[in-house]
């Protein structure tokens, strides 16, 4: 998720100072992984540089000076177009699991075991999320649902792949065409 866009969204209803933004961000989006202060101010700095927010005032009542940030018209537009733009459908697992499956086939390792281990790991995580959802507030339950549906999609892919391993082994091309292989040892020796 884009931290910058989230901060813009939190600023749109009213100007706020960095600390309040951090607290709101943590509460709504990252109860598990609080945002670092450094990141909040760095992000606000970039947003200010690009004309998406301005410093709307300072408050020096007690302690250090606090700057209030306000969203600009351009900032609202940035936020609106980000919200309207569909997210790239990310192939979550492809990068790692697909690579693992291909490598297992190429190196003659058992693919089923690899897929079953992944399936158990996925189901264990789904159990945690299902338990969590039982007592969670609706926003957190929906977040858990989102994760659950993604994990389920992964599992469907795992299931289908498991059913087609035989075919797969026949269709994955060999490691290298013969002519690109290193010449046999004896030819390199005079």
């Amino acid at each position: 998720m884009s931290t910058a866009h989230a901060l813009l969204g939190l600023l749109e209803p009213a100007p706020r100072h960095g600390y309040a933004l951090k607290r709101m961000f943590d509460r709504y989006f990252a109860p598990d992984r609080p945002l670092a202060f450094g990141q909040v101010y760095a992000t606000l700095g970039r947003l200010e540089r690009d004309g998406n927010v301005v410093v709307a005032g300072t408050d020096q009542a007690e302690g250090p000076e606090r700057r209030f940030f306000a969203i600009t018209g351009q900032g609202s537009q940035t936020l609106a177009s980000w919200l309207a733009e569909p997210i790239d459908p990310e192939p979550h697992l492809q990068a790692t699991l697909f690579t693992k499956v291909t490598l297992a086939v190429l190196t003659g390792r058992p693919v089923t075991q690899l897929l079953d281990a992944q399936r158990h790991a996925h189901l264990a995580r789904m159990r945690e999320l299902t338990t969590l959802r039982r007592t969670a507030s609706l926003p957190n339950a929906l977040l858990a649902d989102y994760a659950l549906f993604h994990l389920e999609a992964d599992l469907r892919w795992i299931e289908l792949t498991a059913a087609r391993i035989g075919e797969l082994a026949n269709q994955i091309p060999p490691l290298l065409p013969a002519e690109e292989l290193a010449p046999p040892h004896r030819e390199t020796v005079e």
């Binding site: 989006f29 897929l115 995580r125 789904m126 945690e128 992964d154």
Partner: protein, 251 residues
């Protein structure tokens, strides 16, 4: 990169609860087991030597692709089918070699069943559907009806006692079927794709109430499903493939 763990959802409180439950279940005694189960249908070997052990109070999902043998396994463990080889032991006693009459009695008194659909008697109001197994077991009608009515709040069915199966939703009908399976206070509940005909929200409601009621009554559950979201309500899963239990490390 490992996307199996999505960010931002705290798992600590309930995570601890399920860890505590896992510890309790680990020390529970086995209630139902199959040893070396083989079952053939003609030339097809549906089960090819399966060993399973289910502990008292455990909720176990049996997963696997269509035709993997998961329903056959369930039917063997429930005494509906007799395995060609191997043994089924329930509560310390071998049950696969019992005669049909004795197995039928056992199924009525110690086991409960929920299937995908078509289980309720359409002419009877919900409460009588739930009371049915008690009535068949010779429990006096008044007592059976009281016990049946007591099941309704446990499954979120208050107020539906007088409705006939045609007058309730699919999810409610499945919950009535769950109530009927649990009214006999079974030791083991066998559920074969109990949410197979429902949309995901209704399906999850059924699972929430089924597992909640089963945990409260310490009923052991064997749940056949091919849906991961449904299996996630169980304590662990068994994956059956080609008539064998897959050997991936079980959770």
């Amino acid at each position: 990169m490992n996307d199996a763990r999505p960010p931002q959802v705290s798992t600590s409180p309930s995570g601890m609860a399920s860890a505590a439950r896992a510890r309790v279940l680990e020390s529970a005694r086995p209630v139902l087991s199959g040893e070396g189960l083989v079952r053939r249908f003609g030339a097809t070997e549906a089960l090819r030597g399966i060993d399973v052990e289910v502990r008292e109070g455990e909720i176990v999902a049996v997963m696997g692709p269509s035709g993997s043998g998961k329903s056959t396994l369930l039917h063997c463990l429930a005494g509906i089918l007799r395995p060609d080889e191997g043994r089924v032991v329930f509560d310390g006693r071998r049950i696969d070699d019992l005669g049909e009459g004795e197995r039928s009695r056992l199924r009525r008194s110690a086991f409960g069943f929920v299937f995908q659909f078509g289980q309720l008697v359409p002419e009877l109001p919900a409460v009588e559907n739930v009371a049915l197994p008690l009535l068949l077991d010779g429990v006096p009608r008044a007592r059976a009806m009281v016990a049946a009515a007591a099941m309704f709040p446990k499954l979120g069915l208050e107020g539906l006692e007088g409705r006939r199966p045609g007058e309730v939703s699919g999810g409610q009908a499945q919950r009535i079927a769950v109530a009927r399976a649990l009214v006999v206070e079974p030791r083991v509940l066998f559920a074969d794709e109990p949410t197979g005909s429902l949309d995901s929200l209704a399906g999850e409601q059924v699972m929430e109430l089924l597992t909640g009621a089963a945990r409260a009554a310490r009923v052991t559950v064997l749940l056949v499903t091919h849906e991961p979201r449904i299996a996630a309500y169980a304590d662990r899963e068994l994956i059956v493939r080609d008539g064998r239990v897959s050997n991936g490390a079980s959770a």
